[in-house]
């Protein structure tokens, strides 16, 4: 009961931080700066959601990461103003439970990759150059000793010359550093689609 209460408290505090960012961002006119605030808000939200899930669940040691993936992707689509029917999210995830110290970096990585897919893959809200609707695919599975996460999209290609390990955007920097924190390996496939793959040990 006590731990539950703590997660509730943490979530409320994150909500306050999120409100503070909202209040500040309303006083900003510069569109790029507003976008940065929104990205920060989404990151906080992705952590708050984990605490909320823990607060709601009976097992405080494990997070249903599949439910989390659904939760966070819906939120991000909503947050970037993607109407239903434009970008389809295909989720292919086993029911996998993670502890909080794995779920936070992993959740932030998903947050960045899905945000990237929405904003860079589909800058025009999900209609790709052939006129067909956009698709973001998320796979999450595990074998005996590893987890495999893949986030891909069929939208605009990732720039060929961009090295994800030397990226200047905070989003990609977070992805590569958090992958390292998880002791995992991140790779990018940019042949027919844009696909980020992460594998890390259980």
């Amino acid at each position: 009961m006590l731990f539950k209460e703590i997660h509730h408290r943490v979530k409320n505090n994150l909500q306050i931080i999120s409100s503070l960012l909202n209040l500040q961002s309303r006083q900003i006119r510069d569109a790029e700066a507003v976008a940065s605030f929104n990205e920060s808000k989404n990151r906080i939200r992705s952590i708050a959601t984990l605490h909320e899930q823990l607060y709601r669940s009976n097992d405080l040691s494990k997070i249903d990461f599949t439910a989390y993936l659904h939760n966070i992707t819906n939120y991000l689509l909503h947050s970037y103003g993607v109407g239903s029917g434009y970008i389809t999210v295909v989720m292919n995830a086993e029911r996998i439970y993670l502890d909080l110290s794995t779920a936070i970096p992993c959740g932030l990585i998903v947050n960045e990759l899905v945000s990237n897919a929405i904003t860079h893959g589909f800058p025009r809200g999900g209609q790709d150059e052939n006129g067909a609707g956009g698709e973001i695919k998320i796979d999450f599975k595990k074998d005996s000793d590893k987890y495999f996460l893949s986030v891909s999209n069929n939208g605009a290609r990732f720039p060929k010359d961009l090295d994800i390990n030397k990226s200047s955007t905070l989003g990609l920097e977070l992805v590569t550093s958090l992958s390292r924190q998880l002791g995992g390996k991140i790779s990018l496939n940019r042949e027919k689609i844009t696909e980020f793959r992460l594998e890390f040990a259980i």
Binding site: I16, L23, A48, Y55
Partner: protein, 180 residues
């Protein structure tokens, strides 16, 4: 169009200010911010909002569902719950106060807008239907009372005219009930 006045009930003042700014940007007016159930009841009376946005978890004697019950029954102001996930028991309690809407935090601006608009529409429609029913009932009661007090007017056409009047009033009530 007349400005719609909203009362915010939220015990975290920073979150309340954020909600207030969002409401202003959506074109609503904010009549005040209460941080407790007791304050919510007071401000509902003194500032006469059109609608109340109520957090369920509040510090103090009463919680949001209890405040909503008082505000609904005493002032007939519609209440929308704007609250973080709560357990099944709280949700059940929220339901018994007949809320006009339920928004989960963290909310999106569009949720706020659509829920408020639907709630206000529902409230206005209900109020109109209740008024119509009350008027029709008064007509029925009035006409039958005249009958009982004065007896039959002795003229069949007049009796039929009055009967027709009563039936029409009853039909209005039947119609209203079907609309509810």
């Amino acid at each position: 169009m007349e400005e719609i006045k909203v009362l915010i009930v939220e015990d975290e003042v920073i979150v309340a200010k954020d909600i207030g700014d969002t409401l202003l940007s959506l074109g609503y007016a904010v009549t005040g911010t209460a941080t407790s159930a007791e304050g919510a009841i007071e401000l509902s009376e003194s500032t006469e909002p059109d609608i109340v946005l109520m957090d369920i978890m509040l510090e103090g004697e009463l919680d949001g569902t209890e405040a909503a019950e008082v505000i609904r029954s005493r002032f007939n102001i519609p209440v929308i719950f704007l609250t973080a996930y709560s357990n099944a028991k709280t949700l059940q309690r929220a339901k018994t106060t007949n809320p006009y809407g339920y928004i989960l935090k963290p909310y999106q601006e569009t949720d706020l807008y659509t829920t408020i608009e639907i709630a206000l529409h529902k409230h206005r429609t209900q109020r109109k239907l209740i008024e119509e029913t009350e008027n029709a009932l008064a007509a029925i009661i009035g006409s039958t009372e005249v009958f009982l007090e004065e007896g039959s007017p002795g003229d069949d056409t007049e009796v039929l005219r009055r009967m027709d009047y009563i039936r029409n009033a009853a039909l209005i009530i039947k119609d209203t009930i079907e609309k509810l």
